[in-house]
């Protein structure tokens, strides 16, 4: 069995506030294999972005990793020095943020930002770094890259800027790219292109992708496996076609019911009643219990851990063997 690029075990991220400690990410575990695309899906506030920030070591204080381990190629990176972490960021793990309009420093040209990053991680001369930068821009589909490299960010459209951001994230050939809602801020018409560019470039370089999004459609088209998050925990994780076709967790089922499809004859989309609880008001037992159509007694008392179910894991007492036998 190959060693995963990234493995996360029992990751817990907490924020102290004046009214107590909030747990934004609660005992989350998953792994990403080389070249694999893992989709992480969930509502805003479910803890998916926070998980991404924790992996790359950029949680804003006063937030902190309270428990768990993050391993890159089997080596822990959640407790290394900030200097060591800076050499991992960009070099081993690239990151793409949501809004390309604000991700680039407006006062520097694309060339300056690319060359600075390349030379930070790779022993290249300025001229070689520039060549590499132009080749990258070419790769991400910026027309006339050799000339446009000296433009400033504001001279590019949103879609083009996100291509530049992808080039920046990939410029030192990282093994893993964390893409946090990479298409959310873009026009629908360019979203597919950006996902294609990202997927193609990562595939060419053998980089794995952790794709964070709330858009189940993007996951369906892009990801190999998917992790569904709810209220800071992983509700269900498994191969993407299985999860979509036969969702196991009642929350995932509800989520799937809310995606419009052309094949079904249903007139209306189903909707999950209620809203995700605030972090400060997570109910005892399973966090989904107030909204769950299949809720039963145990859900109000015990919090389910992800349990193996077929070839995935599901955090729901419905799939507890003991429960089934009882």
């Amino acid at each position: 069995m190959t060693q995963p690029v990234l493995s996360v075990e029992g990751l817990t991220v907490q924020f102290p506030t004046r009214r107590g400690i909030l747990t934004a990410v609660d005992d989350v575990s998953f792994a990403i294999n080389p070249g694999e695309v893992l989709g992480v899906v969930g509502e805003s506030g479910a803890g998916k972005s926070m998980t991404g920030s924790a992996i790359i070591g950029l949680i804003e204080p006063p937030g902190r990793i309270a428990a768990g381990e993050i391993k890159l190629h089997g080596e822990r990176i959640d407790n290394v020095s900030s200097d060591r972490m800076r050499k991992i960021r960009g070099r081993k793990i690239g990151m793409i943020f949501q809004d390309p309009l604000t991700s680039l420093n407006p006062l520097y040209t694309i060339a300056e930002q690319l060359i600075e990053t390349i030379r930070r991680h790779l022993p290249l001369s300025h001229a070689d770094a520039r060549k590499r930068a132009i080749a990258l821009l070419d790769d991400v589909g910026i027309p006339d890259a050799a000339r446009r490299i000296d433009d400033y960010p504001h001279q590019f459209s949103g879609g083009m800027r996100q291509r530049v951001v992808i080039a920046l994230a990939l410029c030192a050939d990282p093994d893993l790219v964390i893409a946090d809602e990479p298409t959310t801020a873009l026009d629908v018409s360019v979203q597919a292109q950006i996902i294609d560019v990202m997927k193609r470039l990562c595939a060419d370089r053998g980089a794995a992708i952790m794709l964070i999004t709330h858009d189940m459609g993007v996951i369906a088209e892009t990801a190999d496996r998917v992790a569904v998050m709810y209220a800071g925990r992983v509700a269900e994780i498994g191969p993407v076609e299985k999860v979509i076709r036969s969702a196991a967790h009642p929350y995932t089922q509800g989520l799937m019911g809310s995606i419009p499809t052309l094949s079904t004859d249903e007139d209306r989309l189903t909707q999950i009643p209620g809203a995700m609880p605030r972090l400060s008001a997570i109910p005892a037992g399973c966090a989904f219990n107030p909204r769950c159509p299949k809720v039963f007694d145990r859900c109000y008392h015990d919090r389910p851990d992800p349990l193996p179910h077929e070839d995935r894991r599901v955090a729901c007492w419905l799939y507890d063997k003991a429960e089934a036998e009882a």
Binding site: R18, G20, L22, A24, G47, M50, P62, R278, S280
Partner: protein
């Protein structure tokens, strides 16, 4: 990811709501602010009650005795009178002059700030609501004025007034001229903030609805838009008060402020400065400390208020 918001239980009574509010919480958590507010309250109280608590009336010539002059603090004068903070060259009790001086300083400062606030808020509302030419003219004036230091504008207005008012009435009008000059030099900040908020608010549907229903514009401004700007206006007013107090002291120190018969803290410092080299430090020192305490406590409150009312800085 949205930052996690803490829950609130919803208490019912007003007092309970105040005590539970984020603003009060941040007040309690800031000992500096608590101390500043106590100091300020003390100073204001002392100034208001000056005629009752001052040991002497420093402006009653009959009670003054030059032989009491230059008495050091905590000692008896040659005439056998006791002075806690000493006396000045005319034999006036320094503590009493400070009490009366704070009264003048606070009166001018608060009046000028209120004047600036009323003027600025009114013009800001007007500019924001009417837009177009009205807005352009008012805001251009504000821009130009904000370019120049308030003290300079106050000086000019003061000079202007000096030239217009007949000499006989200058003394009695001085305080009002001062209030007018300081107020007029500080309105632009209010106008700018209120105008911005008004423009935002004006776009909202409920304002459009009220307009369609024929509600008078003044009513719309007062009932719907004004409540939205109270927070920022309060912050500007607090910081503006500190500025106004300093401005008054500066003008009086420069000798163009209140008349010597009605000295403010700035005037007292101006007088005390003459004895800097001759060793009577208390004539200068105590008024100066009072002025700094006054300005600092108001500034600390303003600083805290700005942070407490800024939702983004709140944790």
């Amino acid at each position: 990811m949205a930052s996690p918001a803490p829950t609130h239980s919803e208490p019912t009574s007003l007092l309970a709501r105040v005590l539970d509010s984020d603003v009060f919480y941040s007040y309690r958590k800031s000992p500096v602010t608590v101390v500043a507010s106590i100091v300020l309250a003390g100073l204001i109280l002392a100034a208001v009650l000056a005629p009752l608590i001052a040991p002497y009336n420093p402006f009653d010539p009959s009670s003054l005795n030059l032989m009491d002059g230059y008495t050091a603090p905590l000692s008896d004068s040659m005439m056998g009178n006791y002075f806690v903070l000493g006396t000045d060259h005319q034999g006036r009790d320094v503590l009493s002059t400070i009490l009366y001086g704070s009264r003048v300083s606070l009166f001018v400062g608060i009046s000028a700030t209120l004047f600036a606030m009323v003027l600025g808020v009114t013009l800001g509302l007007f500019a924001g609501y009417r837009g177009k030419t009205t807005d352009a003219i008012i805001m251009r004036i504000a821009d130009i004025q904000l370019t120049f230091p308030a003290i300079l504008i106050a000086l000019l207005i003061f000079g202007f007034a000096r030239g217009i008012i007949p000499p006989a009435q200058q003394e009695s009008a001085a305080v009002w001229v001062l209030i007018f000059a300081i107020g007029l030099s500080n309105w632009a900040q209010f106008a700018r903030t209120v105008r911005g908020a008004t423009m935002v608010e004006r776009q909202k549907e409920y304002v459009a609805a009220a307009r369609i229903m024929g509600v008078h514009p003044v009513m719309i401004l007062v009932k719907h838009i004004l409540p939205n700007v109270t927070g920022p206006v309060l912050v500007i007013a607090t910081i503006g008060l500190a500025l106004a107090i300093i401005e008054e002291a500066t003008l009086s120190f420069l000798g163009v402020g209140v008349p010597p018969t009605q000295p403010s803290l700035g005037t007292l410092i101006r007088i005390g400065q003459q004895f800097l080299f001759s060793g009577e430090w208390w004539i200068l020192f105590f008024p100066a400390v009072t002025l700094v305490l006054l300005a600092l406590s108001v500034n600390l409150l303003g600083d805290w208020l700005r942070d407490a009312l800024n939702p983004r800085l709140r944790q």
